[in-house]
């Protein structure tokens, strides 16, 4: 009897593939996304819709242009994951074209210019984010107060008009709808020479601050944390990168907090405000652009934490996750080069 013998061992392969991994990743994102929706309204949903559809169309188009197989590549869902991460990072009131431009840049410049999935040195979502961050700084401030304390929360129709037609609801101005995020607010507060302890007396900031780390934000981050832990439990992500990121950020913020608690935010505020948990468990762990060696992953995560703290504290932008991730993406090959683990039997040798 003749057989087809073209295959090499092993003759056992896992049944699931990349798309299942991505699906689980998307699943883990849902609690955070729902929390975002709860606190920031329909804008989040519109962002997601615009980003996902743009991503899929752009990916299909570029695959066609590159004469690659389209259907299976689209089905690996990596473009959808990129789109979701990006949409959740953008401000909820972002106009549709902002999300579109960001997603286009993420897929075209961040992913396919480098050869598509697996070959992009930078996290595509963060590439897209940074492009719009430096191009449209005004629109990137279109955050709003969390619904729990927002007297002017927008309904579906108002959000729709705002996102797609840039129409403000009657009798409302931009300044009455949009609001600085907590980190931005605190940065302003400090730059005016105020002390952190005076936050409570500042009517607006005090309101924003909530219990722990910003009204709404603390819950969103806890949801992302839960999703991330679930991913870790299912062995979808490596624990080293989140650990490195969270510990370096905590350590740095604790250090400065202990030095001067009036000028530097507490570790808990740092960890649970902005997109830290999203970054730690979903963005920094993108395996393609991260370091791959075990030690390298800890360094990679820690580096992101350090850069986030530096940019938050002394940089020009209120939050620095995207820049921090991209900077460490750049360093990943170098880190890999110097952290090759000792092969079996090489431990005693130099």
């Amino acid at each position: 009897m003749q057989f087809n013998s073209a295959t090499s061992s092993p003759h056992m392969m896992r049944d699931d593939g990349i798309s299942q991994l991505m699906l689980q990743l998307l699943f883990a994102l849902t609690p955070g996304a729902i929390a975002m929706f709860y606190f920031f309204g329909w804008g989040v949903v519109f962002n997601l819709i615009v980003a996902i559809s743009t991503a899929l169309i752009a990916e299909a188009a570029v695959l066609r242009l590159r004469q690659r197989e389209i259907k299976n590549t689209l089905l690996d869902l990596s473009a959808v994951v990129t789109a979701c991460l990006l949409a959740l990072a953008l401000p909820p009131l972002a106009p549709w074209w902002l999300t579109l431009v960001a997603t286009l840049f993420a897929i075209l410049l961040g992913k396919h210019l480098y050869g598509g999935l697996g070959f992009n040195p930078f996290n595509p979502a963060m590439v897209g984010y940074v492009v719009v961050m430096i191009s449209f700084p005004r629109e990137m401030t279109f955050w709003l107060l969390p619904s729990t304390i927002n007297p002017a929360a927008l309904g579906f129709i108002d959000s729709f008009n705002l996102t797609f037609f840039s129409q403000l609801p009657a009798a409302m101005s931009w300044d009455s709808i949009s609001s600085a995020t907590l980190l931005d607010g605190i940065k302003n507060h400090l730059s005016q020479g105020h002390l952190l302890s005076s936050i409570d007396t500042n009517q607006q900031l005090g309101n924003l601050f909530g219990k722990l780390a910003g009204n709404g934000w603390e819950w969103i981050n806890l949801c992302y944390l839960a999703g991330g832990l679930w991913l870790f439990k299912n062995r979808i992500i490596d624990w080293r990168i989140p650990l490195g990121l969270i510990s370096s950020l905590s350590l740095l913020s604790l250090l400065f907090y202990l030095i001067d608690s009036e000028q530097y935010l507490s570790p808990s505020t740092h960890l649970l405000s902005g997109g830290i948990m999203l970054a730690a468990f979903f963005i920094a762990t993108d395996p393609v652009s991260a370091s791959t060696t075990p030690r390298g992953r800890i360094i990679f995560g820690a580096g992101i934490g350090v850069f986030i703290y530096i940019i938050r504290q002394w940089g020009g932008y209120p939050d620095g996750i995207a820049f921090a991730v991209l900077l460490m993406n750049m360093a990943a090959p170098l880190i890999d080069y110097y952290t090759v683990p000792a092969a079996f039997g090489k431990r005693d040798q130099s």
Partner: protein, 229 residues
């Protein structure tokens, strides 16, 4: 001889373009091409430098010993650039202020010493001048195209600030395209320069690729004819 000049021109403008193929002089290229006029200004300055330096290097090529070749070339180029800088400061101060440090930096533009080394030092004056002109023109072209592109995408205008170079009458030259265009800052910022240059290079390669494909297709029937004949 005319074929030679044709080759020199083709080299400078396209096949061996300083910016798109040799990738030389990228520092000023990327830094000043925020607008069309900036690109034009630096391009003209570089073009002038290239012509003059090629001419003088070629003229003195027989008298310079190899061991001091480079210092002499650098001296010549530095002198020319300094003179051009002073002239610009005197006559187009607005542009001078914008281009700032990049005019003296022309000295370190590798394309100039590269042309001096690889062409002017081996050829008579006239071809050298032509070569300088064509290389400079090729560089100028890229500067202008990139500047124009970035200005167009970044601000939605073209030829803005022309008055810096052409005087007050040029104030009205500014072309504005979409009203209420918010601007796409990335294009104006340094990353935009890199992306823009990358796209230009890709575009050039694409055209070349098309050309060679076209040629092979064209060649086919000729071979067939010969075989059937």
């Amino acid at each position: 001889m005319s074929a030679d000049y044709q080759k020199i021109s083709q080299d400078g403008l396209w096949t061996n373009n300083v910016a798109l193929v040799q990738l030389l002089g990228l520092c000023p290229l990327l830094a000043v091409t925020g607008t069309f006029i900036n690109g034009l200004g630096l391009g003209l300055a570089t073009l002038l430098t290239l012509i003059l330096s090629n001419a003088s290097v070629s003229a003195i090529r027989h008298w310079v010993r190899p061991e001091i070749r480079i210092p002499v070339f650098v001296l010549i180029i530095a002198s020319i650039v300094t003179i051009i800088e002073m002239l610009m400061h005197a006559w187009v101060p607005g542009l001078y202020n914008i281009l700032g440090i990049f005019i003296p930096l022309i000295v370190t533009n590798c394309s100039i010493i590269a042309r001096a080394e690889s062409f002017a030092a081996k050829n008579p004056v006239l071809p050298s001048v032509i070569d300088g002109f064509m290389m400079g023109a090729g560089f100028l072209l890229v500067l202008v195209v990139l500047g124009g592109l970035r200005e167009l995408i970044g601000f939605g205008t073209l030829l803005d600030h022309s008055y810096l170079m052409f005087g007050e009458t040029a104030r009205s030259w500014t072309l504005s395209f979409a009203d209420g265009y918010r601007g796409f800052l990335l294009a104006v910022l340094p990353p935009g320069a890199f992306i823009g240059l990358g796209l230009l290079i890709a575009g050039k390669n694409y055209i070349e690729l098309r050309k060679t494909k076209h040629q092979t297709v064209k060649l086919q029937p000729v071979i067939e004819n010969s075989s059937t004949a």
